[in-house]
């Protein structure tokens, strides 16, 4: 039985290892987050004395057109991007997990959008999808479509453009996660299924999908959080336009905090976003538990 002193010393050593990381986290993440929560109930422009606001920052949001548009758009974006990315990355992973020739090359190609610079690919994407001179619309026009989409310049298509771009950019990353999941499935399960005379679809439906459930759950949670936090893609593709067609919550937070310098209101939106993400994640955890 080690002495009490030795135990304390051992713990101190452990804490000293954790300390550098924790201090960094506390100073740059934890304290600002707690401060942001407090700010949601205060009025502050960053310089003048802070005053108490109570719930007025939240009440104002109910009548705030910018916030309402941002909330609606963020939900639409997440609802569009999450399932599409999930399906596309799973499909890619399943295909590239087979003995296809050149699968290394195709895996790299699929992963490339994820690592490529957002600024560069967004510029190229906007050129390709340029409503007037872009090759996509020119192609559609040549194919006989008389009314071609305005993509990022049309309020009905701007969100679709952003969703398509996001799916294209994210799916390579989640494909890698799915590939790891697929390689972890016991080959004997497929052999047994083969002996039972199953076809490819049945093997996918009754072996692959259930075996990948933990991976799918992980992908779902990560992807949902990522989608609710979207900002950079919107900034690069549409700058939240046309009008407020692609204004998302984080964009609204930026506008409120650094354009209007209304840090209380910005923090209130941040809190709504936090609660939204938390609620969706908890729901997903509950769903996962039920399925188990």
């Amino acid at each position: 039985m080690p002495s009490r002193k030795a135990q304390i010393q051992k713990q101190l050593v452990a804490y000293s290892f954790i300390a550098p990381n924790f201090l960094g986290f506390a100073i740059f993440t934890l304290v600002p987050i707690l401060f942001a929560f407090a700010l949601a109930f205060l009025n502050w422009d960053g310089s003048n004395p802070i005053t108490w606001a109570g719930l007025s920052n939240f009440k104002d949001l109910l009548d705030d057109d910018q916030f309402k548009a941002a909330l609606r758009n963020t939900i639409v974006y997440a609802a569009g991007t999450v399932p599409l990315t999930l399906v596309c990355s799973l499909f890619l992973a399943v295909i590239l997990n087979q003995g296809v020739r050149g699968k290394g090359f195709f895996r790299t190609v699929s992963f490339f959008p994820y690592i490529a610079s957002l600024v560069a690919v967004a510029a190229v994407w906007n050129m390709i999808f340029n409503p007037e001179k872009g090759p996509v619309n020119m192609g559609l026009f040549k194919l006989g479509f008389e009314k071609v989409p305005g993509w990022a310049a049309d309020k009905n298509w701007a969100m679709v453009t952003i969703i398509l771009f996001s799916v294209w950019k994210y799916m390579g990353y989640y494909m890698i996660i799915y590939l790891a999941g697929l390689q972890g499935i016991n080959a004997e399960l497929y052999e047994a299924a083969n002996l039972d005379g199953t076809n490819a679809w049945q093997r996918f439906r009754y072996v692959t999908v259930p075996q990948l459930r933990p991976t799918t759950f992980f992908v779902l949670v990560m992807l949902t959080i990522q989608c609710f936090k979207v900002y950079d893609i919107v900034y690069m593709l549409t700058q939240a336009g046309p009008g407020t067609a692609t204004l998302v919550l984080v964009y609204d937070i930026y506008n409120k905090a650094f354009i209007s310098w209304n840090l209380g209101s910005a923090s209130a939106v941040a809190m709504v976003l936090f609660i939204l993400v938390l609620a969706v994640t908890l729901l997903q955890f509950q769903g996962e538990k039920k399925m188990q």
């Binding site: 310089s47 003048n48 336009g241």
Partner: protein, 431 residues
């Protein structure tokens, strides 16, 4: 036991060293300066592409050998946000502050980050009458927190070679909007790579909306915007008829206005006078295809005097957190004063003090168009601020930009758009 102790000691040393390393990383390394030298830090943007910073500093340092001016480049795109964040964070190392726009100036004043210059202006006998009324436009309750050093205004640039080729007379210094529209239509020609657009409107809302305030009857912070209808109609019709480039295309391709002027694809372009210095510089370096150009006064609505235009003011102020306010004000006084104005004018940039000498310096600069009309175009009669000083200017601007974007991309009709603009701005005003 000994090893554990050793481990703890090692960890502590490591933590200490790391701490020092980080501490050194964020703090500035103090260079021992001669005790008599005062170093002032000037927050600004685009050092490499702005030609007047260096000569201004050089002239001031020559006259004041015990003062050293250091530049702090905060970048152009988010300059005001960066500056406000730095100053709000209590950064006392910045002494002199460049104020890029009115909403930003208003925010800095509201946040008490700028020194009230009234007392200094009085004690140092700064003559505010030299500034052509611009100091009144940025005075907050009778107090000045900045002094203008640049005062740009909007003019019409045109490509002489394209006019010569089309056999059309150059634009004049007195053009109504209807005449300007007709001229733009006459100057449009060609297809594909040879297409020449008669007019060019950059994606800024100012390019369309501000024609509406030239008659002096309305301002952009009124909260009622139906008066903008004729201007949106004129420009959307031009867009529909291919007289100017499509807004959506310009926006999604992030086309810069300078590029289309350099490569001879637009015959006329309404833009601020800040483009003069850049254009001269690019042509001199051989980086622009358009070599023969001119400027005329801004087109105006029927019944408004010629020479009525829009203006932007760039000012200098002193940070409230500065520990060297007197020295900083002295530099501000120099840059914004007549001597500073002449140095700025020599680079082809329009200073806030626009006397005959300054105008003649700019118009006689090498590369400036030699025709009389271009020199005359620099003389403005009345300037309205692009964004007047208003407590909620920044918030209003967000709505104006958003709805402008919707109207110009035909995502909303002009009437519905202007109605939306009015409703949303009124909501902000009534908050």
């Amino acid at each position: 036991m000994r090893t554990t102790k050793k481990g703890i000691v090692l960890m502590l040393i490591l933590a200490l060293v790391t701490g020092f390393l980080f501490a050194n990383g964020v703090s500035e390394t103090a260079t021992p300066a001669a005790s008599s030298t005062t170093t002032l830090k000037w927050a600004l943007w685009d050092i490499s592409s702005t030609t007047y910073y260096e000569p201004l500093i050089k002239a001031y340092e020559q006259a004041h050998p015990n003062v050293k001016i250091e530049m702090l480049d905060l970048g152009s795109a988010d300059f005001m946000t960066m500056l406000q964040t730095q100053l709000s964070g209590g950064d006392s190392s910045i002494d002199i502050v460049t104020i890029k726009d009115i909403p930003g100036y208003n925010n800095l004043v509201k946040k008490n980050l700028l020194m009230n210059l009234n007392a200094k202006i009085a004690s140092e006998n700064v003559d505010t009458s030299l500034y052509g009324g611009t100091t009144d436009q940025i005075s907050v309750g009778g107090n000045l927190y900045g002094i203008p050093f640049r005062s740009d205004f909007w003019i019409l640039y045109y490509n002489k070679a394209l006019f010569d080729k089309a056999g059309v007379a150059y634009p004049s210094n007195d053009m109504t909007l209807a005449q300007y529209d007709a001229l733009a239509r006459r100057m449009t020609s060609g297809v594909g790579a040879n297409k020449v657009y008669g007019a060019h409107y950059h994606t800024w809302r100012s390019d369309v909306q501000l024609f509406g305030i030239l008659d002096g009857k309305h301002t952009i912070v009124d909260g009622e915007y139906s008066f903008l209808k004729p201007y949106y109609e004129m420009i959307l019709n031009e867009q529909k008829d291919g007289i100017c480039q499509n807004y959506a295309t310009l926006k999604t391709s992030s086309t810069h206005y300078s590029g289309v002027f350099y490569n001879n694809s637009v015959a006329t372009m309404n833009m601020g006078s800040w483009f003069i210095a850049t254009l001269i510089d690019k042509i001199e370096k051989g980086e622009a295809d358009c070599k023969d150009w001119g400027i005329v006064k801004y087109p105006h609505p029927e019944g408004t005097a010629s020479g009525t235009t829009l203006g932007t003011i760039t000012s200098l102020g002193v940070s409230n957190a500065s520990k060297k306010k007197d020295a900083a004000f002295d530099f501000v006084k120099f840059v914004t004063g007549p001597a500073g104005a002449e140095i700025i004018a020599k680079t082809g940039t329009i200073p806030a003090i626009k006397n005959d000498k300054v105008i003649s310096i700019i118009s006689s600069k090498k590369g400036f168009p030699t025709d009389k009309a271009s020199a005359e175009a620099l003389k403005v009669t009345k300037t309205y601020l692009e964004m007047p000083l208003h407590e909620k200017a920044a918030e209003i601007e967000v709505v104006l930009n958003q709805v402008h974007d919707e109207i110009m991309t035909n995502n909303i009709s002009i009437d519905a758009g202007l109605e939306k603009m009015s409703t949303q701005v009124q909501k902000i005003l009534n908050k």
